[in-house]
Amino acid sequence: MILHPAVLALLIASVLISAMVLFASFHASHILKHWDRESGSELQLQLERNTYLISTLLAYALLFQLLSLALLVYVADTLHVQIAGAMCAVGTFNANSLGYPALALKIGNFLFAGLWLILNFADARGYDYPLIRAKYSLLLVLALPIYLESLLVWRFFFGLKGDVITSCCGSLFSTGQGTVSSELAGLPPLPTAGAFYLGAFLTLALWLWFLRGRGRGYALAIVAGLTFLAGVAATISYFAPTFYELPHHHCPFCLLQAEYHHLGYLLYATLFGGAVAGMGCGVLAPFHGIPSLSATLPWLQRRLALLCLLCYGLFTLIVTLRVLTSDFRLFS
């Protein structure tokens, strides 16, 4: 194990987050079992009080979860100097078999946590706890991947050894190796970038459509999710080589390094932020008929749709500016 202070910080954070989610899940299952809004019993009053505790606990836990994703990537990027053969975060994550599963789970939990917080925010706007069953059921689903993630993060850092020769990003993200990353790097750059631009354009069109009061937000959520995937694929296959001005360098993590002014953090923040806001719009869509939310839900969805558009817009602007201003051309 590499006893870096940042590793300790991440391990402590993962224990605290898991403990908070476990505590909240325990109370949530209690609420799901005994909740009866019509009742005025002592138990129901206590359950209603507990909802405040769970919401506060989870709001903090999931906020820390979002921050710890950024810290995990930053730490992996910092630790690469101590791992033989590693040149950026890719090498660190690749140093043992648990690095990538931990990262993938953290990203998944990040998206999931964002959606849960949106649901919680909407629920707090209704006076009669309208989404209580939906959000606590979702919480119980979310809890398991969070525990699993903590376990993987612990085992990953405990298994990290400085003297293991790991692959550098040059070999992992080179094409034709049969791995997921090499498949992504091997995607045809122009159609992949085209798919992303199409997704961004469709997001704009659906936003306008949504503003006119058409649709509930499902279409926007699906397009936002697909645009996110296309954005990640296009970053690896086309935008990253354009930033590096190296045709065979597809690494999505090198963008985070100081040579590229840490621009990756802004790019990924906009991409992830857009995905959460866009998909959040769809998560709220099934609850349109609830009377206590009839005023706030459309307002909240419009805000989320706008946020999604702004995030994707900023991402598109940054990558397009780079493509246009760079002397580098991936195709003649």
Binding site: I2, P5, I12, A13, Y52, L71, Q82, A84
Partner: protein, 378 residues
């Protein structure tokens, strides 16, 4: 949006006024919180600054050093090896190096003796580092006595004392001619302590190292990148160990914070009761507690970081230096270069603010769900 902002502002306003009303209780918590942030921030700042110094120090080191091993121990290497290694394709230069350590029994200090390359040193004349000069009270033109391997006293004239800017690298250094070095340690001519190897393309270093071991199996090439990695790991390990030890203090602080947050005074209970009876909701009281936590954490975080900055970069970390720097009779006096990175601040946040916040959630919720009538009746 404006109304929502206005609401937050009003609650924040109320929070600050309420914190100031209970100065005694809050100041004791704040003082301990600041101390915890200060200690952990000092450790991270100090280890990062030392890593930076080590990096700067090694930037001038040769890319590869080749040592000869005999019975698993470092041994002298013949100049013939240098010629053989120089013939390997890609190697641009091989410099035999003469250096060693000299223990001075009168002061209990160790000096590093080095023969400068290209034979620039004059026999009988030495240049000493600032630490050696300080230790022996030497100045230019004084005599430096050293005992040879046979026990006889040899006198060298001090030509100059190296400037204090180079102290971190050269504080214990004595530069002397090759002949003097060989006479002092009974070292046969035609042998070196190790070889510094330069390679034209840094990417070929590993390949060249492989070829050297293949041609001379009794050698051990050491790459600069390996040394850098080891230094990085050592300083991180030292910082990490300190933090592991300090976690006991952090844990005590959390118990204290929990206790402070849970032990509401009768006055506070009445205050929350009145607030709720005039229309504040549980959510509003929780918001009040949130802002209270933010105000305390932000003040403690900023002040703790500021104090740690002054402690490490102005006073050279007197509290941690003995444990983290290592020690020696001749230790370089140096001022660390101030550097605070976002990573350090993020580490501090996760090690102090996050546990504090977690410790105060349940007590805050308990306070916020007090029944107004019960609170006022007490």
């Amino acid at each position: 949006m404006n109304r929502s902002l206005e609401r937050q502002r009003n609650i924040l306003d109320f929070t600050l006024a309420s914190l100031l009303r209970r100065k005694g209780k809050n100041l004791s918590l704040l003082a301990i919180y600041i101390f915890i942030v200060f200690i952990i921030a000092s450790v991270t700042f100090f280890t990062t600054a030392l890593k930076r110094e080590a990096l700067l120090l090694l930037s001038e080191a040769p890319e590869m050093v080749v040592q000869r091993l005999s019975a698993g121990r470092h041994d002298l290497i013949s100049h013939d090896y240098a010629e053989g290694i120089a013939a390997i394709r890609g190697v641009t230069a091989v410099t035999p190096r003469l250096w060693g350590y000299y223990f001075d029994p009168t002061t209990g200090a160790n000096y590093t003796l080095l023969v400068p390359p290209a034979g620039t040193a004059v026999p009988g004349v030495v240049t000493v580092g600032a630490g050696v000069a300080r230790n022996l009270g030497l100045a230019a033109d004084d005599l430096l006595p050293l005992r040879s391997y046979r026990g006889e006293s040899l006198l060298y004239t001090v030509e100059a004392v190296l400037s204090s800017e180079s102290e971190l690298i050269a504080t214990d250094l004595v530069l002397m001619a090759a002949g003097d070095f060989q006479q002092l340690f009974n070292m046969p001519p035609g042998f070196a302590v190790d070889l510094a190897v330069s390679v034209a393309n840094p990417r070929e270093l590993a390949t060249v190292a492989g070829k050297i071991v293949e041609r001379y199996p009794d050698t051990r090439p050491i790459l600069k990148s390996e040394i850098l990695r080891t230094y990085d790991a050592i300083f991180d390990w030292r910082g990490g160990m300190m933090i592991v030890l300090l976690m006991a203090a952090v844990f005590s602080f959390l118990v204290f914070a929990w206790d402070k947050a849970a032990g509401l005074s009768a006055e506070e209970r009445r205050e929350i009761g009145i607030l709720k009876s005039i229309g504040w909701e549980t959510g509003d009281v929780l918001l009040l507690k949130f802002w209270e936590g933010c105000a305390v954490s932000l003040s403690a975080f900023c002040l703790g970081v500021l104090f740690a900055f002054v402690h490490v970069f102005v006073f050279s970390a007197p509290i941690f230096a003995p444990a983290l720097k290592g020690w020696a009779v001749i230790y370089p006096a140096f001022r660390l270069t101030p550097e605070v990175s976002p990573l350090q601040l993020a580490i501090l946040f996760f090690l102090t603010v996050v546990p504090y916040t977690v410790a105060t959630i349940v007590p805050s919720w308990r306070a916020a769900t007090i029944d107004p009538d019960a609170a006022m009746r007490q």
